[in-house]
């Protein structure tokens, strides 16, 4: 089974691929510097802060001395990342390389640490706004929007209403996730299944990344878009911000973001405003933090039954991927994990690890405190059933028989062993099986022997 993996790459990969001038412009914004700092690996964060007030370049040898021998690989990764994001400037002297912090970045971060940062817009005073939604209402709204979008994405007929994304945009999102054959309804690809089982944050990154790479064609500058999204993540959840404070490009973007559930748009008598939701403010949490801190809803029992306290259609679809949904009550979905349902899931490209991770991350709070949150016999059995399908390993190979003499046979088997292609040999009957990759080489060799 091919091991296809969607890696929702970090937002920062996209940032680092921007040209140097644009990066410098981005670094003038204090919040972007903070967001980038937070996305670095821990060692890199330390280096940046340690060098914040050092004006002279630091040689790479002295930088190496800050780390113990154990961490030298992490050190390399950290320094490479810093150079990639152009936070570190490399100064090549004749004898050794030295590093210095990017000047714009350094100034912005220094100001940020001493004075704190102010957002370009302030929340609106409460007398102008009619009524702000409570945080529960806001969370529910965000969840609903996001789920609606996802349901539409996998083009299930269950979506209640379609978002205002144009169909071409949806097709771009669906590229790689869905596959359409003629006359058939669109089916999810393996990547599509894995996408559904990913953490919400990871899914959000994937969609936003596609959105941004597509925005260049729409005429919106990528750097502006990235800057706006990073700034948005520093707004306070639940506070209203006036729409007038946005530039034209940003105003266009805001509507799309509202469809994804990142902000909520509201209109008053005179002004209209947007309210960032938790999805937006979590944008700058780096992908490394995979512990999702949201409420789980699945209880898995030792008899392989699953009880999911949720009424969301998206959850039903996801559970249907690998279990047999038996009853659906207004607030509860009852299902069972059977061999057939799991074999079905494995054939669609989902791995046992993904299923187990999904169950563990979405465990209901009642069972989440128990260790383990999913019973071991269930996780073990899922893995055993997966390995059932992998009992036989196939290697394309060729079978050689009827050697003229023992010497030729010995020479051929040595040759195959040298090229690490010998899979099996029977010395008495002079037969052997050789990997397909070196078949041509074997033929040449045997011809040469004659």
């Amino acid at each position: 089974m091919p091991q296809v993996k969607i890696i929702a790459k970090n937002f920062m990969d996209m940032v680092s691929s921007l040209p140097a001038i644009k990066l410098d412009m981005l670094y003038r914004n204090q919040f972007i510097c903070e967001a980038i700092l937070r996305s670095l690996p821990p060692l890199a964060k330390k280096y940046v802060l340690q060098m914040l007030y050092i004006d002279a370049p630091v040689t790479s040898k002295s930088l190496q001395e800050w780390v113990l021998a154990d961490g030298s690989s992490k050190h390399k990764v950290a320094v490479d990342r810093l150079i990639q994001l152009r936070v570190f400037e490399v100064i090549d002297r004749k004898k050794e390389t030295a590093y210095k912090l990017n000047l714009t970045f350094q100034t912005s971060l220094r100001k940020h640490l001493i004075y704190g940062g102010t957002l370009p817009r302030e929340p609106m005073p409460p007398n102008v706004i009619a009524r702000l939604p409570t945080s529960e209402e806001l969370d529910a709204y965000a969840l609903e929007q996001w789920e609606c979008f996802l349901l539409q994405l996998i083009s299930s007929g269950q979506a209640e209403r379609s978002s205002s994304f144009s169909s071409s945009m949806m097709r771009i999102f669906q590229r790689g996730l869905l596959r359409q054959r003629d006359k058939e309804a669109a089916r999810l690809t393996e990547s599509g299944f894995q996408f559904l089982l990913m953490d919400t944050n990871a899914q959000l990154w994937y969609i936003i990344r596609e959105y941004i790479t597509n925005s260049e064609e729409q005429g919106v500058d990528q750097a502006d878009l990235i800057a706006f999204l990073l700034e948005l993540s520093f707004h306070t959840t639940g506070e209203a911000y006036n729409l007038d404070t946005l530039t034209d490009d940003q105003a266009v973007m805001i509507k799309d973001l509202a469809d994804l559930g990142l902000v909520k748009l509201q209109k008053g008598r005179k002004d209209s405003w947007f309210i960032p939701t938790k999805l937006a403010t979590n944008l700058s949490v780096s992908l490394a933090d995979t512990t999702s801190r949201k409420q789980g809803f699945v209880v898995v029992e030792t008899n392989f039954r699953m009880y999911s306290y949720s009424s969301s259609k998206l959850h039903t679809e996801i559970l249907r991927l690998f279990s047999r949904v038996e009853y659906q009550l207004p607030n509860l979905i009852v299902g069972a994990m059977t061999k057939e349902s799991l074999y079905n899931a494995f054939e669609n490209g989902i791995t046992a690890d993904q299923i187990v991770t999904f169950l563990q991350q979405n465990a209901h709070p009642r069972v989440a405190e128990k260790v383990p949150s999913v019973p071991e016999n269930v996780t073990d059995q899922i893995r055993l059933w997966e390995s059932d399908l992998k009992r036989v390993e196939m290697t394309p190979s060729h079978f050689y028989d009827e050697f003229p003499s023992r010497d030729v046979f010995e020479a051929a088997s040595d040759f195959a062993r040298m090229h690490s292609g010998l899979l099996w040999e029977d010395a008495k009957k002079m037969r052997m099986v050789v990997k397909a990759e070196i078949h041509m080489l074997m033929r040449e060799h045997l011809r040469g022997q004659k």
Partner: protein, 296 residues
């Protein structure tokens, strides 16, 4: 004494409980002024909060007579509009600090003279440990706590027993205690605390660059400590104070039951009540006397 076992920390989220020394007797005679010290320290707090969205800083002030919570970055009161992300710069921290200092000064009007001018370190250490216990019991997901002591006042030997108890309970809960000593002499308590719990102790040479010392050494989260060079303990002052007079002693008597330390011979242990036998020197003089008489 073995240091605390190192846990495997998954990420670099940290919860730092800072014990800030506000002893007026120390600060009036220190080369670094308190306001300069505060500016270094506030920038350091901002830096910690910048490192990770989930980082948390709690400040407890150690006064001469009392201790109190000054600041908690996770509390909702800190969501002010002007400084959405840098609540440390808001005036609430400085205001509470001022109120605390005024209260502390009022309490000292009734103090007897003749005490070493040490701050109430044991009080703030105990408060920090209680806060951390509360965090442990709050739920499954919490950042890994550590304690950072910014001390300048000398050690008060009368606090020895309580401080050692607090240090051992910190070792038990696997909470490292870092210490940065900015006073003139050395502090045995801080060295022992960091050594036993597996934290870092450092005495900065140049106090003008305090921010750089704090950033380089004490901002390191627990996850990165396994591969960053940190100052190692050069020589730890393990001297104890006696339980009866609270003097620092090098040699003394130890109760074999509860390990309490005394400077003079006592008939009975004051901690556990076990009765001691005769002292070595008295037994030797008795046998001398016995030997003398048969000779004559």
């Amino acid at each position: 004494m073995a240091s605390a076992p190192s846990k495997l920390y998954a990420d670099d989220v940290s919860l730092v409980v800072v014990l800030l020394d506000t002893n007026p007797f120390f600060w009036s005679s220190s080369s670094l002024s308190f306001s300069q010290f505060l500016s270094h320290v506030l920038a350091f707090f901002n830096a910690i909060l910048t490192l990770n969205q989930l980082n948390q800083v709690v400040v407890i002030a150690t006064g001469y007579n009392s201790c109190d919570y000054i600041f908690d970055s996770a509390s909702d009161l800190n969501r002010s509009f002007e400084n959405g992300r840098m609540p440390v710069m808001s005036s609430s921290l400085l205001q509470k600090l001022e109120e605390f200092l005024i209260k502390d000064e009022q309490l000292s009007k009734e103090e007897p003279e003749g005490r070493i001018k040490s701050s109430l370190f044991l009080g703030s250490l105990s408060m920090a440990l209680c806060y951390i216990q509360r965090v442990f019991r709050s739920g499954a997901l919490h950042p890994h706590p550590r304690i950072l002591c910014l001390q300048g006042s000398p050690d008060g030997p009368e606090q020895y027993v309580a401080i050692m108890n607090a240090i051992f309970s910190a070792q038990r809960s696997e909470v490292p205690i870092d210490s940065c000593y900015i006073g003139a002499q050395n502090s045995a308590f801080l060295q022992q605390a960091s050594y036993i719990t597996g934290g870092v102790h450092h005495k900065p040479q140049n106090l003008d660059g305090l921010f750089q010392y704090l950033m380089t050494i004490f901002a390191t989260d627990l996850h990165s400590r396994s591969f960053i060079h940190l100052p190692k303990p050069v020589g730890v002052d393990f001297r104890a104070s006696c339980f009866c007079h609270k003097n620092t002693i090098d040699m003394g008597y130890v109760c074999s039951v509860c390990l309490s330390i005394f400077c003079k011979h006592h008939k009975k242990c004051s901690t556990c009540g076990s009765v001691f036998g005769q002292a070595q020197s008295e037994a030797a003089s008795a046998s001398d006397k016995k030997r003398k008489t048969p000779e004559t």
